[in-house]
């Protein structure tokens, strides 16, 4: 039986993630855990997260998870969600500057409060909260069965700065263009919450459960 470890480092609404994964993978063993041995043995790893990145990185320190996380990131089908995307980059502006895992090159920045959009001069609200469209920059097994420009549920005040690089798998516009999904080898990570994005989100989780961890 396939085992799916959901990294539990004491933050955020992990229950929503586990419930959605259980729903799409009724025959899998789904475990919230910060046990390094369990993570090493699991077939797949999900790194969810909500709240502040500073607390997230501190929690990884506290539970001594850096090493096992890097091992998982190197070899297993790996899905990052929200902070689980942001943590993969070099650094974040949050908390006065936080060094992240540096798996992917780039920066995490705060949405400026002065953003506007055409036809709305009142300024965009922060956090970016609600259903926005994701443009798929590349075909990927995790996008299978999901429409181009499909809407997913977002809630975040910091974003991964968009730069042209092969790892960008999806982008979203909210006052500016940001990286909404990233993919490299066995890693896929998203800014939005698939566990809260109804049909499209469940489809993405289903795709992850059957993904062999390669890019095609």
């Amino acid at each position: 039986m396939t085992t799916i470890a959901i990294l539990d480092y004491g933050m955020g609404n992990l229950r929503s993630v586990s419930k959605a994964v259980e729903h799409v993978a009724p025959n899998a063993t789904v475990q919230l855990t910060h046990d390094a041995d369990y993570l090493r043995q699991a077939d797949r790893v999900i790194f969810p997260g909500q709240g502040a990145i500073t607390g997230c990185i501190q929690a990884l320190d506290k539970y001594n998870l850096h090493e096992v996380l890097r091992e998982c990131l190197a070899e297993k089908p790996f899905l990052g969600i929200c902070l689980g995307l942001q943590a993969l980059y070099d650094e974040s502006e949050e908390g006065g500057g936080t060094t992240c895992l540096g798996i992917l090159p780039g920066k995490v920045k705060k949405f400026p409060t002065s953003m506007t959009e055409p036809g709305n001069d009142r300024g965009l609200k922060v956090p970016h909260m609600g259903w926005n469209q994701v443009y798929q920059n590349q075909s990927h097994p995790l996008w299978q069965g999901i429409n181009q420009d499909e809407r997913f549920y977002f809630v975040h005040s910091y974003y991964v700065e968009y730069t042209e690089q092969a790892s960008v798998a999806g982008t979203t516009d909210y006052g500016l263009k940001f990286t909404a999904a990233a993919a490299r080898e066995n890693i896929f990570a998203v800014q939005f919450h698939p566990e809260k994005s109804q049909h499209a989100g469940l489809q993405l989780l289903k795709n992850f459960i059957s993904w062999n961890g390669s890019n095609s």
């Binding site: 933050m11 955020g12 609404n13 229950r15 929503s16 419930k19 959605a20 259980e22 729903h23 909500q50 709240g51 502040a52 409060t113 959009e117 009142r122 300024g123 965009l124 609200k125 922060v126 956090p127 970016h128 909260m129 609600g130 259903w131 926005n132 469209q133 420009d149 809407r151 549920y153 809630v155 975040h156 005040s157 516009d173 909210y174 919450h193 566990e195 809260k196 994005s197 109804q198 989100g201 469940l202």
Partner: protein, 256 residues
């Protein structure tokens, strides 16, 4: 194209049943919350809000079970309000599967609680619910915060309060006009617009929806980021899909 305006059906839950009162008096039974939530999910609701109006705190466990059941079947954001007074209450609801909690009276009595909650769980899951009533006259309207289901005035100005709650770390505001709640006369547009324009966090307009046009007006005239309604959906008068179709026709961005 961009971020969609959200339509949020609200379920007032009393002892595990969906009820809806008119200005908090007449209560009509509107069914089993799990079934009702599933129906709204199928109709395309963008989120669902549960307000626990159970009087006795002993019965609040019922709400936890409702949330647990809904969260294992419905995969859109769920907000729970009513009786959220301590960090422990928030943790319990999040563990049951809620994504956000709405804090109302407890924020008025102890604003620091909002700070504490946002620090602990992140602003993204802290909604501050504001019940406001007009106190100024027509030309120079002012709105004051009321607690205890609209019965107790606090002397606090609604707009200042909204700004303060945003500063304290609220991720969103759920704004209810107590004058309009249950009347079906439409949102208090002046109130909605005043609060929406005063804060940089998203605002959900609530109270008074009787027609689909009212929902659209909350966005176009009230500047709301999301609109909440209860009774027009509960009794089958309208579906969420019909609301979205009308909003889309008016050029409002919605989720298909």
């Amino acid at each position: 194209m961009g971020l969609a305006k959200r339509i949020i059906p609200c379920l007032d839950v009393d002892n595990g049943r969906v009820v809806k009162g008119v200005q908090f008096v007449e209560i009509r039974d509107a069914g089993d919350p799990v079934e009702v939530a599933r129906r709204y999910d199928e109709q395309g609701a963008d989120e669902i809000t549960f307000l626990d109006i159970t009087a006795s705190s002993d019965d609040r466990e019922t709400m936890v079970h409702v949330v647990e059941q809904v969260a294992s079947q419905v995969f859109i954001p769920l907000t729970v309000g009513g009786g959220i007074r301590k960090v422990e209450d928030i943790r319990r609801m999040l563990n049951a599967g809620a994504d956000k909690v709405a804090i109302n009276t407890a924020a008025v009595f102890n604003p620091e609680f909002v700070k504490e909650a946002a620090d602990h769980f992140g602003s993204q899951c802290i909604v501050v619910a504001i019940d406001a009533k007009q106190v100024g006259d027509g030309d120079d309207p002012r709105w004051e915060i009321f607690t205890h289901g609209g019965r107790k005035p606090t002397g606090i100005d609604a707009i200042e309060w909204a700004r303060k709650m945003a500063d304290y770390g609220a991720g969103e505001i759920l704004l209810t006009s107590m004058d309009r709640d249950g009347t079906k006369d439409g949102f208090d547009i002046a109130l909605t617009r005043a609060v929406c324009d005063a804060v940089s966090i998203p605002v959900i307009a609530s109270g008074g929806v009787g027609t689909l046009e009212h929902l659209a007006a909350g966005v176009t005239e009230g500047h709301a980021d999301a609109v909440l309604a209860a009774s027009i959906f509960h009794f089958g008068e309208y579906t969420v899909g019909q609301a979205k179709a009308l909003m889309a026709k008016m050029g409002i961005e919605t989720r298909g």
